[in-house]
């Protein structure tokens, strides 16, 4: 009886997981099969869930219709630079808020950073655009990197602050101090190496934010050579939102998703531990 109950619970558990997985993965499945469907089946209704034949020609065609390599490199460069800036500043700022700031100052800074996350990103768009434009940064990589960093740094800082506060005991730093380590030495030799999961989680957040963004890049850039892939994919979309090349759009979407998937596949263990650290502590 006990075994039956256990098996039943397990079956229900996996059935639940399967259902949620299907719900989450269906759009991705749709994206992939549309990219390999023969032309005649792309717009069929009711749609074919399994293509009659697999056609990979879109994966060749897409490189001929879009400067996709250029778009991908632009995205990679901007996202990487945003990640470097975001992580470096967030780690230093997060540690400082966690350890050295006066209580009121710490609270004030934290509240201000939280407030920046409550403002819809579209609101400061015009003012930030004109600041960038007046500084001759509107149509440049650096302008885009700064714009993304403005959004990434506060959240990354809050993540790092929370990580340092909850996972690194003060005693560890006190021991290092007793052993003659300076403040910087304690940070770089003790705290930072054991905070790698938090740093990686922050880096992934920062990277994905910059990789996925459409709005800032579409407004700030007019030079096609600087276009990131999130904007470039819109090259298939026409005047009234019409798309005469749905299959190629889906193919591009599959290709664009690959770097993010690789990133997650390699770093997911850090991401989970980094995000969940501090979840059970006050």
């Amino acid at each position: 009886m006990k075994k039956f109950k256990k098996t039943k619970a397990m079956v229900l558990h996996y059935a639940g997981l399967l259902l949620v997985s299907l719900f989450v993965l269906l759009p991705y499945y749709w994206m992939i099969i549309t990219s390999v469907k023969p032309k005649e089946e792309v717009m069929l209704s009711p749609p074919t869930m399994i293509p009659s034949t697999i056609d990979f020609s879109n994966y060749i065609q897409v490189w001929k219709t879009l400067p996709l390599a250029r778009y991908l490199l632009n995205s990679l460069f901007v996202a990487s630079m945003t990640t470097i800036i975001g992580v470096v500043l967030a780690v230093l700022c997060g540690y400082s808020l966690s350890r050295y700031a006066y209580k009121k100052l710490q609270k004030g800074a934290t509240i201000l950073m939280l407030l920046t996350q409550l403002i819809p990103s579209v609101l400061p768009m015009i003012s930030l655009y004109f600041i960038m434009f007046k500084l001759n940064l509107a149509n440049t990589y650096i302008g885009l990197i700064i714009a993304y960093s403005v959004w990434a740094i506060p959240f990354c800082t809050l993540m790092m602050k929370s990580y340092f506060t909850t996972t690194i005991p003060h005693e560890l730093e006190e021991s290092a101090t007793i052993d003659g380590c300076s403040k910087f030495g304690t940070f770089f030799r003790i705290c930072l190496p054991i905070s790698i999961p938090g740093v990686v989680a922050t880096a992934i957040f920062s990277f994905i934010l910059a990789w996925n963004d459409y709005m800032w890049a579409s407004i700030m850039l007019s030079n096609n050579d600087l276009k990131p892939v999130s904007v470039g994919i819109y090259d298939y979309v026409g005047q009234f939102g019409g798309n005469a090349n749905l299959a190629l759009t889906m193919t591009t979407a599959v290709i664009v998703t690959i770097p993010a998937i690789i990133l997650f596949a390699f770093l997911q263990k850090y991401l989970i531990s980094g995000l969940s650290a501090g979840a059970v502590k006050g």
């Binding site: 630079m81 940064l137 650096i142 939102g241 090349n245």
Partner: protein, 436 residues
């Protein structure tokens, strides 16, 4: 060692950031128009982005060979185009020349140094105002002054499945009554009355019915605004009749599957074989069908839109001008480019490559348009069209989708709300925006 690595990393970061900045002024401002460099923004057209890019490379190379002027073009996506032009008219980054739209609205928000420049001299050099269709002139000429040269043109026609018509032994409808009769023959429904194959669908992706209604209003003989464009007057008997016809095809005659469901896309349903007629498609629809539903090749055609009486205006038309921005430092070079790009020869090439109609009457007389089965309908329809956009500065707000007073009114009516009340609210909302 770690310090050295750290310093090096900071240096690399700084150098990278400096390297990715742009030079202060990209254009070469000689001012005399020769050996100059100008920037040109245009939106994305056609189904293959590579075709437009190749076309622009060829056209700009030819222009440089003829004039010595370099044109740096950028292809702007539609989603951000209005925001970019709004910023360009209010002090943000502006190109020398651009493919603008909502001209009246852009001029209203411009100031002395920003926004579209008056180009009456260029128009005179290009043959005067008889060169373009009325819808083209309406979009480029504001209060008697020209702010651009009309180029692309867009009118709406009827798309129908020739096989379905042949099987049912039907003629292409010419009037609203014909349309309903044909729709009834072509529509199939299940036992519960749910449409399984619709005779008709309004061309209304994202449940946007405003442009369909503009067409029906024009067909009923109604007007959106009075003759001096100072007031919206569509709460007229014609306004009511056209809205009634729009919803009757859905609810009373049950020949149309369109609804407020934003996911319903008329052309997709046509491609899927679920619809026999789509009312009000654009010229690009053909490419879309050929690319995504090749099984329909040779089984679809275009026809002039049926209207209430079978004669007179039966469609709406839209156009867009190529404009020079006041902020240009190379006005003469920009004018040279506009004259070249809008010349009949280049416009014909552009129309052919990008599957666009043209505002220039002579370009549309070319055999490319008049002998092609699909396109010749558009030529015929162009002469039976009136402008779909109103030449007022508040138009971009009045017709803003989905919350502008007119799109909202159309959606309410399709959703089943009272027509008369919706019309009154729509007119009031639109007139309030003019007053502001």
């Amino acid at each position: 060692m770690k310090k050295v690595v750290g310093i090096m990393m900071i240096l690399v970061l700084c150098v990278s950031l400096i390297a990715c900045g742009s030079p202060e002024n990209e254009g070469n401002s000689t001012g005399d128009g020769k050996e100059a460099e100008i920037t040109f923004w245009m939106q994305k057209y056609g189904s293959d982005p590579a075709v437009q890019d190749k076309l622009m490379q060829e056209v700009t190379a030819d222009f440089k060979e003829k004039t010595g002027i370099t044109v740096k073009y950028s292809i702007i996506d539609w989603d951000s185009a209005l925001t970019k032009y709004t910023l360009a008219c209010t002090g943000g980054e502006a190109p020398d020349v651009a493919d603008i739209f909502f001209t009246s609205s852009l001029i209203a928000m411009s100031n002395e140094g920003c926004g579209p420049m008056e180009v009456n001299d260029v128009v005179a050099e290009m043959g005067g105002d008889e060169t373009w269709y009325q819808a083209g002139k309406d979009e480029a000429n504001i209060d008697g002054d020209w702010y651009g040269i009309p180029w692309r043109f867009d009118t709406r026609v009827l798309l129908y499945n020739t096989e379905d018509f042949k099987e049912a032994g039907l003629e292409v409808p010419k009037t609203w009554d014909d349309l309903i009769e044909a729709g009834k023959v072509l529509t199939e429904a299940d036992d519960k009355g749910n449409i399984s194959h619709a005779g008709l669908a309004w061309y209304a992706g994202m449940s946007r019915f405003d442009q369909t209604w503009f067409t029906l209003l024009a067909q009923a003989g109604g007007q959106l605004m009075n003759n001096d464009f100072s007031k919206f007057v569509f709460d007229s008997p014609e306004g009511e009749e056209s809205l009634q016809f729009l919803v009757d095809c859905i609810n009373k005659e049950k020949i149309c599957a369109s609804s407020v469901d934003a996911s319903y896309d008329a052309v997709s349903e046509f491609m899927a074989g679920n619809v026999s007629m789509v009312y009000g498609v654009t010229g690009e629809t053909k490419t879309s069908i050929e690319n995504q539903a090749p099984q329909l090749n040779g089984k679809f055609a275009s026809a002039v839109l049926p209207n209430k009486s079978g004669e007179g205006v039966s469609s709406i038309a839209f156009s867009a001008p190529i404009s020079i921005f006041k902020s240009t430092k190379n006005a003469e070079a920009s004018k040279e480019w506009v004259k070249y790009f809008c010349s009949e020869e280049v416009q014909l090439k552009v129309s052919q490559e990008l599957a666009l109609l043209n505002s220039n009457i002579n370009v549309m007389k070319d055999s490319y348009f008049t002998e092609d089965e699909w396109l010749k309908t558009f030529v015929e329809q162009s002469s039976r069209s009136q402008s779909g956009d109103m030449p007022i500065s508040a138009w971009s707000q009045v017709d803003a989708w989905p919350d502008g007073p007119i799109p909202a009114m159309c959606n309410k009516v399709v959703a089943g709300e009272d027509i008369q009340q919706s019309l009154s609210e729509g007119v009031k909302g639109a007139n309030d925006l003019i007053q502001k």
